[in-house]
């Protein structure tokens, strides 16, 4: 009977998560951190029940926040990968379809998680054992690949001389390196200099940085573009092939699981690597795989904490919920998997309902005004959680984000650059570089 209450806790989490997911710029981790404070303040709260609320919130966020990316253009780093196709669909009157396709990608990733759950306790410990000693060079390899694999943008006007072609070839790469370098410098500073009290360090550094890197530049671009959102077509038929959906889901799952396993690698980077390695192409595959990668990145990483024998702490939610409750038994793992399944279905239903609603109302408003409104909400949330210092970080990060937009280089360079100092720490050379830079 007690266990049924945990399902109820998860249900509450889904409702909270869904409601919060459509608030632009608000990350679920920030709300979960508040939940932890709540649990610590009131020790009588059942820790497992609290974590079930977190689980419901995380599942809902991983699925429903596709709406903000599609209709409002505001997103976090993990959705940036598939943002462009979603926006393209929106402008073609297919925003509803795009959001549902994203939901299906997430649903597919969830199904794969459910299927591998019974063997996960035998597979993942082996993966961890194999990968742990090689973590630093894998991460540096990821960075090197992302930086050097960027394709020249103006390939239609091929230069006539070798020097000209060499220059063209390195133009995009150089821009990528520039963005990476700027982001890395910001990372060195914000990750080593405390700009706020310790208890809100996450909100005061990571959140404004991410808002500045991803959400604000995109919203600003939308506001400047002054385009009008056409009337959205709401249909029960999704125009995508089964092959695209299956391929996108599996590719996204692989990319998401890679990023869930590897520290400092976001869903977008994982999705990019998986997409390149499997030859993913077309808007549908991008959207589906992006959503699947995102779901796997968030929920899959949390899943790793619950896997018997493994109990791997990866990404934000595992770290946050560990403060309240540490799963230790098979029984808790099966409860978690069941909660994920039920929460995902519920979230998908809510996604449909909310998407129908947003598809109806968004075209009625000026997209410029909507974008400016979203910008105001992002600024307000950052001000609330991170204070003025956070807004300074957000402004600097926005400059770097706009540089990326301007040069049309890869957004993944920003994320990798920002976390590169931590990778250097893992390799044992981070502190030496920080000293050379004079940060401390």
């Amino acid at each position: 009977m007690e266990s049924l209450f945990y399902l109820l806790f998860a249900f509450v989490g889904v409702l909270i998560g869904s409601a919060l997911s459509i608030v632009p710029g608000l990350h679920i981790y920030s709300i979960s951190a508040i939940g932890v404070l709540f649990a610590i303040t009131f020790p009588s709260v059942d820790p497992l029940g609290m974590v079930m609320v977190f689980t419901g919130m995380l599942v809902a966020y991983s699925m429903v926040s596709a709406l903000t990316a599609t209709y409002l253009g505001a997103t976090d780093d993990s959705l940036r990968y598939s943002l462009f196709p979603n926006q393209k669909y929106l402008m073609a009157g297919r925003g509803y379809e795009a959001s549902i396709l994203s939901g299906i990608g997430a649903l597919g990733a969830m199904m794969i998680l459910l299927i591998i759950a019974p063997i996960s306790m035998y597979v993942f410990p082996v993966f961890r054992k194999l990968a742990t000693p090689h973590m630093p060079w894998i991460l540096i390899g990821v960075v090197a690949y992302v930086l050097q694999s960027e394709w020249p943008k103006d390939w239609g006007s091929r230069a006539k001389t070798r020097i000209g072609r060499l220059k063209d070839g390195w133009a995009s790469l150089s821009a990528g390196w520039l963005v990476f370098f700027l982001s890395m410098m910001l990372g060195f500073i914000t990750l080593n200099v405390l700009t706020s009290s310790l208890d809100r360090a996450f909100q005061a550094t990571i959140m404004p940085a991410f808002s500045g890197f991803v959400a604000v530049p995109w919203v600003l671009t939308n506001a400047v573009a002054r385009f009008k959102v056409p009337t959205q077509n709401i249909t029960n038929t999704l125009y995508a092939s089964k092959k695209d959906v299956i391929r996108g889901t599996t590719t996204g799952f692989v990319g998401g699981m890679f990023s869930a396993n590897e520290p400092m690698v976001s869903a977008g980077v994982g999705g990019l690597l998986a997409g390149h390695s499997t030859g993913t192409g077309g808007d549908t595959q991008f959207m589906v795989s992006g959503a699947a990668a995102r779901f796997t990145y968030y929920v899959g990483a949390f899943f790793l904490l619950w896997v018997p024998l493994l109990h791997l702490t990866r990404k934000g939610m595992a770290n946050i919920s560990n403060l309240v409750f540490s799963p230790k038994s098979d029984s808790e793992f099966w409860l978690f998997v069941a909660v994920v399944a039920i929460s995902a279905v519920l979230s998908f239903v809510l996604l449909i309902v909310l998407s129908r609603y947003m598809a109806k109302i968004i075209p009625r408003y000026s997209y410029r005004k909507v974008s400016l409104g979203v910008l105001a909400i992002i600024v307000a949330i950052n001000l609330y959680f991170a204070g003025w210092e956070g807004l300074v970080i957000m402004t600097i990060a926005t400059g770097i984000g706009l540089t990326q937009v301007m040069f049309r280089t890869r957004w993944a360079n920003i994320m990798l650059g920002f976390f590169f100092p931590i990778m250097l720490n893992m390799a044992g050379i981070g502190s030496s570089i920080v000293k050379v830079l004079g940060i401390y």
Partner: protein
């Protein structure tokens, strides 16, 4: 297609084109929301199945020790076993061994968790049942351990204590092992102490002469914050778990408070002149002047294995002091330990052939007062013969050529020197490597030396053997 055709995806006219010129959709490629609904139903069914598994697997699911394999390195597991040895404590960690039906495993608890266990009086002891959650380490050499991170990860069920006797434990050990890994209370007398590098083994003896080892890990003093204060010949009641080491039973003490002193027995006080065979196996208290101390080396190393003490003269029974016991003596006692000191000690009498010995066992009962003693100087070496064997002499002379060292394969040589007196007579000086390697200076032909030593046989002649480095004094 006709011009009225509308794209079902974007709702715009297609002018008969496929795919749609506005959004690129080919209407033939489509999926209904029903497919998503089917996926949702399957997910709910699977979710319900997993929920049923959650209900069916309540509580920890321990694994068997034999199932631990290399691939489980770093894995987190539950184990539910009986504690079979320990606790061994250090300044930063605590460890104990557990056993199930398939094998044994070491459990490590690090700071600060182990301090919490101490504070909460939840340190597992032999015989207790534990259910532990932790991270496994499986090393390349095949050794395994489980590391516990938080106090909540160790669930402890204390063992019930059984009142028994040393005789009962020993008599059942080689048959039913009735008391193995049980927590027992026994009464016995402390009759010896065997110091090890990491622990001390006290010997408990009952009135019938049955003995049982009591293992006290040195690290317990970190847990207790004090030294264990039990003395030789105290009759104590000990509550501890019965573990096994080298095929024999051993009590594993977990708490100094589990030893309660019942009685202080006194040794028989005798004078050295009145020692006889009726005292064999009895504890005696004797006193006398230390006239000679002989360091006996370990044949396989330069370590000292024991010290033989001559009290009053060469005719009294030798006092044998194991080097491990010697090292337990307080610093000030060790500083006084040497020729000339007045000693009072408690030891156990034993017999080697026809010779009586007093074994100064631990916990050592030895008090020393400073004093001096010098044997008379023998000026003419010709008077020292094999008839003086085992007597104490003091000689002074010059080292002359003719000595023959005895080489060892891995250790430095024992040294034989030839000492010449003022009359031109010679005597051999035999210095074992145990003594020579501890001297502050080396000896060479031409050195004038003064030596106190015992007369011993070397080849067919008499020789003088110093007992400790300070017995050799380089005069010039």
């Amino acid at each position: 297609m006709t011009e009225e055709k509308i794209c079902p995806a974007c709702g715009k006219p297609t002018a008969g084109y496929t795919p749609c010129p506005h959004c690129g959709v080919d209407p033939k490629n489509r999926i209904g929301l029903k497919a998503a609904a089917v996926v949702c139903v399957i997910a709910l069914v699977l979710g319900a199945g997993y929920f049923a598994m959650h209900l069916a697997t309540a509580g920890p699911q321990p694994i068997l020790i034999s199932s631990i394999d290399r691939w489980l390195d770093y894995a987190y597991v539950w184990v539910a076993w009986t504690v079979v040895s320990g606790p061994s404590a250090g300044t930063t960690s605590l460890s104990f061994d557990v056993q199930d039906s398939s094998g044994q495993l070491r459990i490590e608890v690090y700071d600060p968790t182990y301090k919490t266990l101490i504070a909460e009086n939840r340190v597992p002891t032999v015989g207790d049942s534990v259910t532990v959650f932790g991270q496994l380490r499986v090393y390349l050499d095949g050794s395994e351990e489980l590391r516990v991170s938080t106090p909540e990860d160790l669930l402890l069920t204390k063992a019930q204590t059984v009142q028994t006797t040393i005789q009962e434990i020993m008599s059942t050990w080689y048959s039913t092992k009735e008391f193995e890994y049980k927590r027992v209370t026994v009464v016995g007398k402390i009759t010896n102490l065997i110091p090890l590098s990491s622990a001390k083994i006290y010997i408990l003896e009952d009135n019938s002469g049955n003995t049982l080892e009591l293992y006290v890990h040195n690290g317990l003093m970190y847990l207790e914050g004090r030294y264990l204060d039990i003395k030789l010949l105290q009759v104590v009641s000990v509550t501890a778990g019965v573990s096994e080491y080298g095929g024999t039973p051993q009590l594993a003490l977990a708490d100094y408070d589990d030893i309660k002193v019942i009685e202080n027995q006194l040794p028989t006080q005798v004078s050295l002149d009145n020692m006889d065979t009726t005292l064999v196996d009895r504890f005696v208290k004797v006193s006398g002047k230390v006239v000679f101390v002989e360091m006996v080396g370990d044949p396989s190393s330069l370590a000292v294995s024991e010290r033989q003490i001559w009290l009053d003269d060469q005719y009294t029974p030798r006092v044998i002091l194991d080097e491990g016991i010697y090292e337990l003596l307080p610093d000030n006692t060790r500083q006084l330990f040497g020729r000339g000191s007045n000693a009072e000690l408690v030891g156990r009498v034993s017999r080697s052939g026809t010779t009586l010995r007093i074994n100064l066992v631990g916990p050592p009962e030895l008090s020393l007062q400073s004093g001096t003693y010098e044997p008379s100087l023998v000026e003419n070496f010709a008077t020292i013969t094999l008839g003086n064997e085992d007597s104490l002499v003091k000689v002074e002379g010059r080292i002359v050529p003719g000595g023959a060292d005895v080489a060892h394969v891995t250790l430095p040589s024992d040294h034989e020197f030839v000492l010449q007196d003022n009359f031109g007579d010679n005597i051999k000086l035999w210095v074992t490597n145990t003594v020579y390697e501890r001297m502050l200076y080396s000896l060479a032909v031409g050195d004038n030396v003064r030596v106190v030593g015992k007369v011993m046989q070397r080849g067919s002649a008499a020789a003088v053997q110093p007992g400790v480095p300070s017995d050799i004094e380089k005069v010039s």
